[in-house]
Amino acid sequence: MKIIKKYIPLAIVFIFGMITLASYYVPHRTSEEYLEWINRWENIVSAFALFLGMISLFYVHYKKIERKVDGWGYSLFVYIGFLIIMVAAMISHGDISKGGKVTCLGWTFNNIYNPLSATMFSVLAFFIISTAYRAFRIKSTSAFMLFLAGLILMLGNIPLGEIIWDKLFSWTHITIAEIKNWIINVPSTAGKRGIMIGIAIGAAVTSLKIIFGIERGYMGKD
């Protein structure tokens, strides 16, 4: 049992991990054909993973409805929403438009998914305004520097900001766009470069740990 649960998965990860890693650097036809083949398998596995994710989602919300926990009514909407879109997709055969006319699925996308998705993201704007007024307190030098950088970037991003800057600070002979570009090109880029290098090294190390079986989180608790 240990062979099936532990050693075979480790062996699969190691073999395919090393071959795929090597294929990236080998400019040979065989290596490209291998990548084509493994990519197809990846698509198949992704489809199963999506199906598994869907079952897991339905199970979690079914349990909430069964136990009538707080907010169980919202869990009903998971099933209702899924059914609406599924029925619309089946009626339209997966097409959003046909012959220039919007299908049933296209209608649900334009009138349900589109507005709901945009609304969810728009709520952020209201939280930002509330936080800006009630929580942004300039109590230290670093907070002031953060505010200054944010102020310059915000003013530089809007035409009205350019007009305000020109009215107040035209005597400096420096435009807000120039200052904004300096902030983006110098301190921000330097910081971002450091972060990107850190992330890349971290990702490479974690990938190697998974390939060599040191990191086994994907195998579950046993």
Binding site: L50, F109, N110, I129, F136, E162
Partner: protein, 273 residues
């Protein structure tokens, strides 16, 4: 006085929400028309690159955004597509995000007819592909290994514009409009590895993070947010949603700045009272 100022600092946030709502709705209903004076270098670069492509060149337009980021990115996609059609470029439209189907459909239902462009001759739509890494690496040798058929299930090779297209070697550039990290994949797996020019369009908040790529010319140009779309619309002399939305953006930004400054001034006064 102290009590009043304290009350002002602890004001019910619903008043703030109401103020923001009016600040956004009023400029949309009654446009102010604040003129934009400058065009950023990154937008100019992307405009110049596409403008200098010879007519008949094929570009890939990868539209990877969903309705949550559509207000910033949809105007960018529209203006790039309009520019490409004005320059008589052939466009291969694709996506790696499942939620962008309806938005792409909205683009291709309105824009091509305005420029007398025909499906199959001037542009094609490829189906959604979940496995981005596989698709990007595969297209380096053979686009049809992954994209055998177009979005309608018809063989891709049979379209007039795809007759001389085999891989990235036949593509003039890739323009990726996205609110996710997909642009990083295009730069790393296509731009750097296969030397294909990559151009991008991102949300304003993400724009700052692409400075390293722009400095090293890994990205040939970048449109940032709604302002970037408005600047591009001005360059191609076509008013679109980027320009019309900029008034609301102006007022909302100023409101946030005013709130921060006002609350901190009140706090400072309270400190000395």
């Amino acid at each position: 006085m102290k009590e009043t100022l304290n009350k002002m600092l602890k004001i019910d946030r619903r008043w703030l929400f109401l103020l923001l709502t009016f600040a956004i709705i009023i400029p949309i209903l009654k446009p102010i028309g604040i003129p934009s004076k400058s065009t950023s270098d990154a937008v100019k670069d992307i405009y110049d690159f596409i403008d200098k492509l010879p007519p008949g060149s094929t570009i890939i337009l990868s539209l990877d955004y969903d309705p949550s980021t559509a207000p910033e990115l949809h105007p960018q996609a529209a203006v790039v597509l309009k520019h490409a059609f004005k320059k008589n470029l052939k466009v291969i439209i694709m996506t790696f995000l499942a939620g962008s189907g309806g938005l792409i459909d909205e683009l291709v239902r309105t824009i091509p007819t305005k420029y007398s462009k025909e499906y199959g001759r001037d542009y094609v739509l490829l189906p959604y592909m979940p496995n981005i890494l596989a698709a990007l690496t595969q297209m380096s040798s053979n686009i049809y290994a992954f994209y055998e058929k177009d979005i309608d299930g018809k063989p891709l090779r049979e379209y007039e514009m795809m007759k001389n297209i085999q891989s990235y070697k036949d593509i003039a550039c890739v323009v990726d409009i996205t609110g996710t990290a997909i642009l990083d994949y295009w730069v790393a797996y296509v731009g750097d590895k296969y030397k294909v020019p990559i151009l991008g369009g991102v949300t304003a908040i993400s724009q700052v993070g692409y400075g390293p790529y722009l400095q090293k010319k890994q990205l040939k140009g970048l449109i940032g947010g709604m302002k970037g779309a408005a600047e591009y619309e001005r360059l191609i002399s076509e008013v679109g949603k980027g320009t019309s939305g900029i008034d609301a953006l102006n007022i909302a930004h100023i409101l946030v700045i005013v709130f921060i400054i006002f609350s901190n001034i009140v706090l400072l006064i309270l400190k000395f009272l």
